[in-house]
């Protein structure tokens, strides 16, 4: 085995690569015709080892089974509380299942933090958070021109914010007024038909919105802005933002609907009894009372818009422009994560690791937004309980 390792080291490839090659040949995935003698030896050794392992494993399983049977048989008696024993195990299983949620959260946090720390070894944290230039292409060869790799995430944050702002400009008025109309004016019949239609908007897969934005909305914006003498990029922030706004409408409308309905009827009746019109009641009494809940709904919608991926991947661009012009192409945090990680990647390059740093940022921001939103909504619920 010592000699084997030595001859393997003589080549330049890593041990992991050799292990993969040996395993593939042993599994019959690769033909062994090109393999060197050392590799062939390793393959036969690998095969015999796996063979032994499987025999040992079967014997161990058999023994474990027999042992279990023996224990069960021995404890078989009239006063053995079998049901309690079984139920203890069942309860333990139930508890274990519910801790999966913690495990998932933990593994998300750990992967993001560990990989992001790796990234910050290559790129200082401050350069990442406050750098103005993003071009993750790093040089493959040392003498390559023009791909030094810059990881300043400000253009991405700005792009994300721009698109989310456009989305909110669409979604907040439309969603809020829809909710007001549905809860205050609409007859039960209208409500019964219109509400599910809004919910359809929430059920449409985001990839469909992305396609719609790229195929219909973006060309329309290019034409419309050309007709008033402006030039819009074919992958404008406006197209992605508008469509994302449509996607977010049902979140705002259904959450605000709940909040408005939760305002105590006494407030509404009091205002109406004083002679206020319905719109005055809504504007002066109900909306101020429901405002915290509506703010919570809007924050949830913002966090949704920031984390949305497919619409921006398909309709916003990949060029990291630092601009506030909605007709230009911008890129977002999520779009960059997808672009960096789709396809093959070397797992330890700063480029790949930067996706995890972006992911960590996204995770922190959305979590904070949700936390604040829930806090506001809870606080508000308590006020009227």
């Amino acid at each position: 085995m010592q000699g084997l390792a030595g001859s393997l080291d003589s080549t330049t490839a890593s041990p992991a690569f050799h292990y993969l090659e040996i395993r593939n040949i042993a599994d019959g995935v690769l033909p062994d015709s090109h393999a060197s003698v050392a590799v062939k030896e390793a393959v036969s050794r690998y095969t015999s080892l796996t063979h032994t392992t499987s025999i040992v494993l079967s014997i161990m399983f058999l023994l474990a089974g027999l042992l279990g049977f023996y224990r069960g048989y021995k404890s078989l008696s009239v006063d053995f509380p079998a049901r309690e024993q079984v139920e203890k195990i069942v309860r333990f299983f139930l508890l274990a299942s519910s801790t999966i949620a913690i495990l998932v959260t933990l593994s998300i946090v750990l992967t993001l933090v560990i990989e992001a720390l790796q990234f910050f070894k290559h790129v200082p944290l401050l350069d990442f958070l406050f750098g103005l230039k993003w071009s993750p292409q790093t040089a493959i060869r040392a003498d390559q021109v023009g791909s030094s790799g810059a990881f300043g995430a400000i253009p991405l944050f700005a792009g994300t914010l721009l698109i989310a702002c456009i989305a909110m400009l669409v979604a907040v008025p439309v969603g809020l007024f829809s909710a007001i109309y549905l809860s205050e004016y609409a007859s039960p019949l209208v409500r019964a038909y219109v509400k599910p239609m809004l919910e359809i908007l929430a059920g449409i897969p985001t990839v469909v919105y992305g396609f719609f934005a790229a195929l219909t909305v973006a060309p329309f914006i290019v034409k419309a802005s050309a007709s008033i003498g402006l030039s819009a990029s074919s992958e404008s922030a406006l197209a992605a933002g508008l469509v994302m706004g449509v996607m977010v409408i049902p979140f705002i409308s259904s959450l605000s609907d709940d909040v408005i309905n939760a305002v105590p009827a006494s407030l509404r009746f009091g205002s109406l009894a004083m002679g206020a019109t319905r719109s005055e009641t809504i504007r002066k009494v109900i909306l101020p009372a429901a405002l915290p809940g509506i703010m919570g709904a809007i924050l949830l919608a913002v966090s949704r818009a920031i984390g949305e991926t497919m619409i921006v991947v398909m309709a916003a661009g990949l060029a990291a422009n630092l601009t506030a012009n909605p007709l230009e192409s911008v890129t977002t945090v999520t779009a960059q994560i997808v672009t960096i990680l789709v396809g093959d990647q070397a797992f330890d390059s700063p480029k790949t690791l930067s996706a995890f740093a972006l992911g960590l940022t996204l995770f922190c921001v959305t979590l904070t937004l949700n936390f604040i939103a829930l806090k506001i909504v809870r606080h508000y619920e308590e006020r009227y309980d």
Partner: protein, 421 residues
């Protein structure tokens, strides 16, 4: 005094009407966007369910197709059918003899034409040596021309004068047909739009959802049961609840990052497979199922619980024999809605590599595959005109599945409502 009062009242009335109008306008805006979206998809996608074919008399000469007996399936797959298909096409235009001209004429046929001949032979091996009439697919450009997506004239014209003339001749003599495109529903992906199908993606999505269901359904029920029935108001319970709510709020792309780092790089599960896709999706579906199950467990009437306890059932027996069966419809409704969300998820599947170009239809969840939403993404990113209708049609298919799943959820819900009453 009265006049100014009237003015004031009129002003308030107008404000009221204006306010109402804003509400109606927003609803109309939202619904009309939905209508435009659906109209765009359906109007640009329905044609993908049909394709243009050309009727040819193909001479199945074994020598020219370089096949020799015995005509087993394997032997037939090795054959070369291009020249015979081309000859059949040239035979329709005897006066086109120039090589350049013939090459231009040959552009009419899809690479699928020779496959059509091959598949015919595999089905009818005894017809070798005969001349048969076959309908073979035309290439994407002509398909799009027939469907009037490509212009016959103008700056970006893709056809020469001759090519248009030949095509018009074929149309006039009735050799060009417009048929239902079964291959779109059953076939795998292809570089050629006229041959591409969503069969592989549908199967991939099915396997991913199956894995997702098998993992998240039992786990979700178990977790919800614990939290509703057995957990006290301890610190652990509160942490678990907070985590479940957090999971529901995490952007999907982050689940993809986690799946890539943990399931692919640490556990070494096979890349691009529905297995890993299903595992990642199940983590996202879990909160939905847990929340729905908890709600339906809470809705179970206390009478059932007390009656079972009174008959001497243990707490675990009460839950498994009485509470969960009664709560099952609500749980199923939540599960179906969760799975419908999972069916539309794209970003996490991109992260774990389900974007590879895969022609074969996956046989097991361990085979590399795409999924329906990813296929939509892949086709949407394709530059070729022929893929636009395919993308829309694939969207129609995924929306059909979503509608079916939601209908199922509605049916289950309404059925149980009548039963309880």
């Amino acid at each position: 005094m009265i006049a100014s009062n009237k003015k004031q009242v009129n002003k308030r009335k107008r404000a009221e009407l204006r306010f109402r109008f804003y509400g109606v306008a927003s609803l109309l805006a939202a619904i009309s966007v939905l209508a435009v979206l659906l109209y765009t998809i359906v109007s640009s996608g329905y044609s993908a369910f049909f394709r243009t074919t050309l009727e040819l008399h193909v001479q199945l000469d074994p020598e020219k197709m370089s096949i020799s007996p015995p005509y087993t399936e394997d032997a037939l797959r090795q054959g070369r059918y291009t020249s015979q298909v081309k000859q059949a096409l040239y035979a329709l235009f005897p006066d086109v003899t120039d090589r350049k001209q013939r090459r231009a004429l040959g552009k009419l046929l899809s690479p699928g034409a020779e496959l059509a001949v091959r598949d015919y032979l595999i089905k009818h091996p005894d017809s070798i040596g005969e001349t048969v009439t076959l309908e073979v697919p035309v290439s994407s450009d002509y398909d799009q021309l027939y469907k009037e997506y490509l212009p016959r004239s103008g700056a970006n014209i893709r056809f020469s004068e001759d090519q248009l003339q030949w095509y018009d001749h074929l149309l006039a003599v009735g050799l060009i047909h417009y048929r239902f495109n079964l291959q779109f529903l059953t076939g795998g992906d292809s570089r050629y739009p006229e041959l591409a199908g969503i069969g592989g993606a549908v199967v991939g999505s099915f396997y991913a959802l199956l894995v997702c269901f098998l993992l998240s359904f039992p786990l979700g029920i178990a977790a919800a049961t614990y939290l509703e029935e057995f957990a006290g108001d301890t610190r652990l319970t509160r942490i678990i609840e907070a985590n479940i709510n957090n999971l529901a709020a995490i952007p999907s792309v982050i689940f993809g990052l986690m799946g890539l780092a943990i399931f692919l790089n640490i556990f070494g599960l096979p890349r691009s497979t529905p297995l890993v896709g299903g595992i990642v999706l199940s983590l996202m579906t879990l909160p939905t199922i847990i929340i729905a199950t908890r709600a339906s467990i809470r809705a179970v009437s206390p009478g059932i619980r007390q009656a079972a306890l009174g008959m001497g059932a243990s707490p675990v027996q009460v839950v498994f024999h009485h509470v969960l069966p009664v709560a099952l419809p609500g749980t199923l409704t939540g599960t179906i809605i969760g799975l419908a969300q999972a069916l539309g998820e794209t970003a996490p599947l991109l992260m774990i590599g389900m974007v590879a170009f895969i022609v074969n239809i996956p046989a097991t969840p361990m085979d590399a595959s795409t999924a329906l939403p990813v296929q939509i993404y892949l086709w949407a990113e394709s530059a070729e005109r022929g893929f636009v209708e395919k993308t829309s049609a694939a969207i129609m298919v995924i929306m059909a599945f979503l509608i079916l799943m939601n209908l199922l959820a509605v049916v289950i819900r309404s059925r149980t409502q009548t039963k309880v009453e």
